[in-house]
Symmetry: C2
Subunit: 143 residues, 2 copies
């Protein structure tokens, strides 16, 4: 995997290698998604992008998200109700707990659950390629 001077994955090089043009909007969007650690939706990415270049369009954000998704740079989450939300892919796998009241997304990981899933799939005669586990919950009020 191509890295840049800072040791991080160099998405521009990766994409260029795949024959994709690095344009000004793409560079900006790429920076936004690789620097954030939350799960912004397209409009939120657009809002941030506009601060760096007044005439980036929302269409371009959508088109770029689709492109980056296809190239595995980001991951799309379709949480119930709202718009798709995106996350910079590549770290290790984790699942999500969604706060139904605030929309907050909390990441977590459980090796036990991962292992159980494999077992279940094996029993059913399948190999798991990927999976999605979303818990929808409400913050517990301390008694």
């Amino acid at each position: 995997m191509t890295k840049n001077a800072t040791g991080r994955v160099d998405h521009e090089a990766e994409l260029r290698k795949a024959g994709i043009r690095i344009t000004r909007p793409r560079r900006i969007i790429l920076r936004i998604v690789s620097e954030t650690d939350d799960h912004p939706d397209a409009y939120e990415i657009f809002r941030r992008a506009v601060q760096e270049d007044k005439n980036i369009s929302l269409s371009t954000v959508y088109r770029t998200m689709k492109l980056l998704e296809e190239h595995g740079t980001i991951q799309r989450h379709a949480f119930a109700g709202g718009p798709s939300r995106f996350e910079h892919a590549g770290e290790e796998h984790h699942d999500h707990l969604i706060d139904v009241e605030t929309g907050d997304v909390i990441e977590f990981r459980s090796d036990k659950i991962e292992k159980l899933q494999d077992e279940i799939a094996r029993e059913l005669g399948y190999d798991i390629l990927h999976h999605k586990l979303e818990l929808y919950g409400r913050k517990r009020r301390s008694a």
Copy 2:
């Protein structure tokens, strides 16, 4: 839980008990969702309903799905991209294994996973309202 003459859950009685009027459209929609064993979307339910009553409207289908969801009669699945799809909420909860090659949906259930989810949520300070676990897999070729 109220049952009717055939021994199945009597949704009409359940809803009436909750102060909800049983109208002609609702009766038809209720029958459709409780008789099917696939996961139709609102438009598909509408299409089936129209065959029984020419002037049922799509709005009524949407309104009824929301109503039934709130009363726990049905469950809503929000897949990425497409429309919400509904499923008659039977007695026991189950999760889904999706065959990525054929699109087949296999239902399964694991008490261990259910319990683990509760534990995790509790550790994070949340109460789970509902969850979604989808395994995407490929049928294992026997060696």
